[in-house]
Symmetry: C2
Subunit: 206 residues, 2 copies
Amino acid sequence: MTKIKATNITWHEGHVGREEREKLLNQRGALIWMTGLSGSGKSTIAYTLEHALVQRKHLAYVLDGDNIRHGLNKNLGFSAEDRTENIRRIGEVGKLFVDAGIITITAFISPYRADRAVARQTVGAGNFFEVFCNTPIEVCEQRDPKGLYKKARAGEIKGFTGVDDPYEAPENPELTLDASKVSPQEAAVMLCEFLEGAGRIPALGR
Amino acid sequence: MTKIKATNITWHEGHVGREEREKLLNQRGALIWMTGLSGSGKSTIAYTLEHALVQRKHLAYVLDGDNIRHGLNKNLGFSAEDRTENIRRIGEVGKLFVDAGIITITAFISPYRADRAVARQTVGAGNFFEVFCNTPIEVCEQRDPKGLYKKARAGEIKGFTGVDDPYEAPENPELTLDASKVSPQEAAVMLCEFLEGAGRIPALGR
């Protein structure tokens, strides 16, 4: 049994609304969904944007292969069915993060249009911003930070997006970036301006 | 192409650390894991605690059946195998929320000791606080807010925890509450004091 010390608390019925959390955070929740080939710059841009937002005192969080594929989705492979379930779960987690008021950035190849459409529907069209990393495959393949294209060309990896598995480009993304033309920093600035325009973060004071 | 307006931003390599987000939020991430029978008060206490924390300007978020069972885990049933996967996924999502700096409260029956141990390990022992809602089953059954005990006693629901499926009580929970002895408001105050003691939120100024 405990003594009640905090007698000045007003108790509420029901759930805390998303708006209350957003007011606390001085931002509105959003899901920035980066899609594009391996090596197209998704993760680098995502983490650069996260830094820029946190520096502006906004709560941002990146979901990518590092924290999803080794955790929540470690029981999924790369079959079409498992890719679909992978993206479905990421969309559902994104919905929770957005409801918590967080500016959430996902960085997954997410090659299938139908899967991305499910994620958009799950999160809610007004909260979902698709960013197409449209970096030419030649550039992605030249970068090949994890040596995956090399293995795919050698036949050591099967079903690799862009080599022997399709990438279905977005038809109507909110933003398109080409990492062979803009630096991650330039991309992050563009995305911050986009978030300002979409009413997710206040514009910087001058 | 965009003009770089924000020339005063320092760009960082790598990921934003949990500590940076926690500094922004003036709190440390934590997972309050409520466990207990149906009707033992888990959800009510969870939402009352969430309100108390948000009123104190802390970012808190509840994961419960409403937002998990109809979303991320809608492809899971109530077999022992599916219950285990249910709790595994909740533990993984909880880990992400804690990494984002949020005080996260889960409200699931989570009847199996081994499953809760996996969640504790996933989230990390220092971030995981097990709260046992040890309300007598007679009280839970009398409350029966969703009419589930009645259906289980009538044999209309099979595998119902406490009726024909076991509940394995925690052996060493961080906190034990009995909803027949404390109100949700009293429980929330106890939990706030617990979070203060655990260094997750600063003590209230007097």
